[in-house]
Every structure is written in C-alpha cells, then in structure tokens.
C-alpha cells in the first residue's frame, strides 16, 4: 500500500508533465478504441450479412462436400434428422438446399446457370433470399395452375435469355442417376440486378430440384442459423453430436467459406498494424517522460537504496508508476471513447453512396460496443506501459547509492 501511495504521489509531483503524459496515452487509447469499434462494427455487419445471406452459421453436409461440392454427394434429410437438428440448443432456423448447374434456354438463346433448390418457407426465415426479389414475387412450393414449378432467376439469366416474369424457362442438366435431366419452369420472380452474386441463379422449390436432379428426399446442404456467427464453431460441435453415422459432418461457416474467412482475418490483422503504430508513437513520448522522471530522481533513488530499498523494489516502483499513468489514461480515454463508440453504434456514419448488395442496402458505417473494443486497447496500453517502464526501471535498480546521491 505504501509503495502504491509512493508511486501515486510521485506521478503527482510534476502535474503538468503527468497531465500531458496521461493525455497522450488517453489519446492513443481513444484512437485505438474508436478505430476498433468502427472496424469491428463494420466487420460485424459484413460477416453477419454474409453468413446469413450465403453460408448460414453451420452447414450439415456429406463429408467432403464442403471441399469438393458435386451433385452426387447428397444425403437423405429425414423428418427425424431435421427435428433433431432443429432442437439443438442455439439453432434458430434451418433450411435444406440442393445446388448444381444446368443449361438454361429461353426462346432463342441458352445460358449456363447455377440451380438452387430451396424450401421457400424455411429459406425465407433463414436468408435474405425473399428480400432480393426485384420483379415478380417470391417462390412458392406449389406448382402453378398449369403444373409448372415456379422459379426465380438471376438478373443476368433474365437478360441473357430475354426472360421476364411469367415466361417459360427450360433447364437441361444431368441427373444424379446419370440420366438426362430437362424440364420446363415458369419464371415467378427476378432476383436483384446484373452484377449481383445471384445473377446466374435459378432458384426453384426443393421438391422440384429433387425431381430435376433425381435426388428423391435428398439434399446437398442443411444450412443452419444460430444466434451469432461468432459462436458457429461451438454450435457445429453440438450439431455434430446429433448427426447419425460417420458420413455426415457439421461445419462452421469459417470452414465452409475458408477463403473468405482467411481474407477477412488477414484484412483485420492488416488493420491492426495501424493500431500498433499509434500505440508505438504514444510509447515513444511516454518513454521519454518516464526516462526524464527517473533521471531527475536519481539522487532520491540513491537515498531509497541507501536506506534499504532493494533493486527489485525500485524497479517495481517505476513499473507501478508507469502502470498507474496508463490506468488513469485508459480510464480517461474510456470515458471519452464511451459516448463516441455509442454514437457510432447507434447512429453511425452515413455513407455518401449507400451500398446495395443484392438488394440489401448498407447506408451507415456502424461501430461496436463490446468488452473487446474497450478492453483490448487497455490491454495493449498496459502492456506497452510495462515495456516502456523496463528500461527506466532497470536503470533505477542499478543505481549505485553513493554515485546517485552526489546528484542531490
């Protein structure tokens, strides 16, 4: 307690210098915290959107399908299996999908397309598919009055094949049994705009896709949504426990979209360099201050050593003083960062041009309020402060009392 008192009073000796040092460290904390908040908020938005829109949080597939998707790696999705997965704690929604490719024909032209078979109701509850309809209407499970299954087609498919809502689309492909697959469908809706990820899609009801590709009762993926994309690996483990047999596996989105995940992680790590540069620049200034403070008190350290203070205790006194400065700076920085991060989270910065991704509009850069956004900068500043204190601390510990006291 006495050492803490001594450290605290020491840092109050030169109040102006302490204030400037604290402000410099608090400024560093503030910059790091706000930047982290905005970056994390942006990544959060992107990842939440991406996983909901594309991969879900977890996927159940046949082993190896995630790495090498083929028509033949399908599995039978029974009602029991679907129910078992839906009742796993944390599962909020699940939707089966079939995926393969085909050649689409309009009146006069053909165009390669990516065929998706989905359960319209389950898919609408899980992904943004229903929000992407730019013309016509969303998919229905039942065929129309003439017995045609309805499909939604990507904007590029519509343009290349000169198709509009209500017109007929012919698909030709290969069935899982090796047969030639071909059928006629009614365009029920158009998805997004040319350039969107769905521009080459043809989305049809699951039953129609199973019939087209000759996969009765089978699916390629069961896409599952949990509460949070971050907890996907744990959710995948829990789901894995209810899967029957050895051939099925539950993979988190980080595995399903490995390249995307690695790119995002690398991008994030790249952004951290800026943060470390900020901390480094702050540290240089603080190191100068701490060194100056130690040099000024050389004589006093000599006295402390003369009356019995051990070198280690002197070292820790310097570390304690620097850490106290850092803690005060972090608290001050945190107080200022709190309303700023809150504003970024609730309000955000309006983008000059809102981003339209497949019909989903991003209009604001949002921040994030989390323990990480406030705790990580504090950890970095505290570690940096401890490192800064090493050299002055060692210098103080090595002081020879009789030499040091000559400076008094």
């Amino acid at each position: 307690m006495m050492m803490l008192k001594l450290a605290f009073r020491n840092i109050l000796r030169n109040r102006r210098r302490t204030l400037l040092t604290v402000l410099s460290m608090a400024g560093g904390y503030l910059l790091v915290s706000v930047q982290l908040s905005v970056t994390e908020g942006s990544y959060d938005q992107v990842l939440d959107f991406y996983t909901r829109d594309t991969t879900g949080h977890v996927q159940v597939t046949v082993d190896g399908f995630v790495e090498t998707p083929t028509l033949y790696k399908a599995f039978r999705l029974t009602g029991d299996l679907q129910r078992a997965i839906d009742t796993v704690p944390g599962v909020q929604a699940s939707a089966p999908r079939i995926e393969s490719s085909a050649l689409g024909y309009g009146d006069t032209r053909s165009f390669p397309v990516s065929v998706r078979g989905v359960d319209p109701e389950r898919e609408a509850a899980l992904s943004y598919l229903a929000d992407k309809v730019s013309a016509g209407r969303y998919l229905t499970s039942e065929p129309d009055g003439q017995g045609y299954a309805g499909v939604m087609i990507g904007a590029q498919v519509a343009r290349q094949l000169s198709l509009d809502v209500g017109e007929e689309l012919i698909l030709v492909s290969q069935g899982a049994d090796g047969s030639l697959a071909n059928d006629l469908y009614r365009v029920q809706g158009i998805l997004g705009q040319p350039g969107d990820a769905e521009e080459r899609w043809v989305v049809m009801p699951l039953a129609a896709a199973q019939a087209f590709f000759v996969l009765p009762g089978e699916v390629h993926r069961l896409v599952i949504l949990g509460a949070d994309y971050r907890s996907a690996p744990r959710l995948a483990e829990r789901i894995g426990e209810v899967l029957p047999g050895q051939e099925l596996s539950a993979s988190p989105w980080q595995t399903v979209a490995r390249e995307f995940h690695e790119t995002m992680t690398a991008d994030k790590e790249g952004g951290m360099i800026t943060l470390y540069v900020i901390v480094f620049l702050v540290c240089i200034g603080v190191l100068n201050t701490v060194l100056m403070s130690v040099l000024e008190r050389t004589g006093e350290f000599g006295v402390l050593k003369a009356i019995g203070t051990s070198p280690a205790r002197l070292f820790w006194l310097i570390v304690l003083e620097t850490l106290l400065l850092a803690v005060i700076a972090c608290l001050l920085g945190g107080l200022v960062a709190l309303p700023i991060n809150l504003w970024f989270t609730l309000q955000g910065i309006a983008l000059a041009e809102p981003m339209d991704i497949s019909g989903i509009v991003f209009s604001h850069y949002r921040g994030q309020m989390s323990a990480y956004v406030f705790g990580f900068p504090m950890l970095v500043i505290l570690i940096a402060a401890a490192l800064i204190a090493l050299m002055p601390g060692i210098r103080a510990a090595r002081i020879v009392p009789v030499d040091a006291m000559r400076t008094l």
Binding site: V303, K305, A306, I307, G308, S310, V402
Partner: protein, 230 residues
Amino acid sequence: MSSVIETRDVSKHYGEGDTLVKALDRVSLGIAPGEFTAIVGPSGSGKSTLLQLMGGLDNPTHGQVHLANKDITQMSGRELSDFRRDHIGFIFQAYNLIPVLTAAENCEYIMLLQGVPEAERRERVYAMLERVGLAGREGRFPHQLSGGQQQRVAVARAMVSRPDIILADEPTANLDSQTGSDLLDMMHDLNRNEGMTFVFSTHDPMIMERASRLIRLKDGCIDSESEREA
C-alpha cells in the same frame, strides 16, 4: 569489547596511473557498541568515503568491512540493500527525506521494508517522532518542515528501525548553530539513554565536543585517535 563495525586495511582509490587518487589508504578501525564517535579531518581527508564504505554504500578498492560479523564487501547489491535496511541507520547532510512521504511515512518506510506489522510501525513511529520533538507534525511533508525539523525526522528515520549503528555524514552542516546544537544534544541523549551507536563524519566542533572518541584522518590515513569522557 567486540566491534559493531570493523574496517580492515580498507583502501579506496580513484583513477589510475598518474591520476590515481588514494581517498583512503589502509584504514583499520573498530567501533564498539554505544560509542559516539566522530571522524574528523580536513576536506578531502576521506571522512565521507570511510563512512560510505562502513555503510556499504560503496565498495573498497582493497580491504574488508565487517558488520555484525559479516564481510559486507562480499555481498551482492540485493544482499547489501537488505543488510543496510536491517543493520544501519543513515543521517545525511542534506536530510534526504523522501519528499512525497510525510514525516511519519518517511520513518515508517524502512520498517515497511523490514516487514514490521502496521500497528507496531505506527506505534514506534509516533513514539520516535515524539522523542525527537516532532509530536503533532507527523502528517507534514518535508517541505512543510524547517531544516532542523527535517533533520530530526532523518534522525527518527535512522533510529526507528533499531539498527546496530547510525552513520551520520555531517548532519549539522546545513543547520544554524542553535538548531545543530539542539539536534546533537538529542542524539547524545539517545546515545546515552538508549545505547545507540553513532559514527559521525564532521568538522563541526560541536560534535567533536560531545564525541567520546575522535578519529582524525589526514590524506586518507588515520592521523590520530583520542578517547575521552563525553
């Protein structure tokens, strides 16, 4: 009588070759318990250097210093710190109190390092400050005290941890004669009543008058010694 502190052939040299300075040259002496000794001599005679070597603040170029039957010249920095803490009290010419600690905290600090329980620390500090005439000024910081009061705190700090010996380097040099005399009377009382051993380095005649033993240094060597009834 066995010595509290003993120097054996202690030398301290600075520089080398043509620039060699022998601050102390083969000084051997012993200080018995309860002595009130003054090491005197002109400036540059080696008084302060001898005191620093006796207190383990510096290492001799040659020779040994024994305190509590241990050769302190062989100790590491850490061992020396602990040894000074437990066995030696220092009083400096410039008081050298810790400016951010109050009078009481300055005295308490060494006992804290010694691991004395808080209640006992407080009790001893308040008793000692009363003993040196500073009752009621325990909470004052050094800059709120006069030079004489600061030196009294320094005396209290040196004594409160109950060391084997107190080494005082020109303790009255920065004080006016009346304050210096009062302070010396107080230390003399502590010596006579509590048997505390004092060694001074000084050229203050007031200390020499009160000293039971005078060691005169000249050019780094003991020139003469005298003992008398103080």
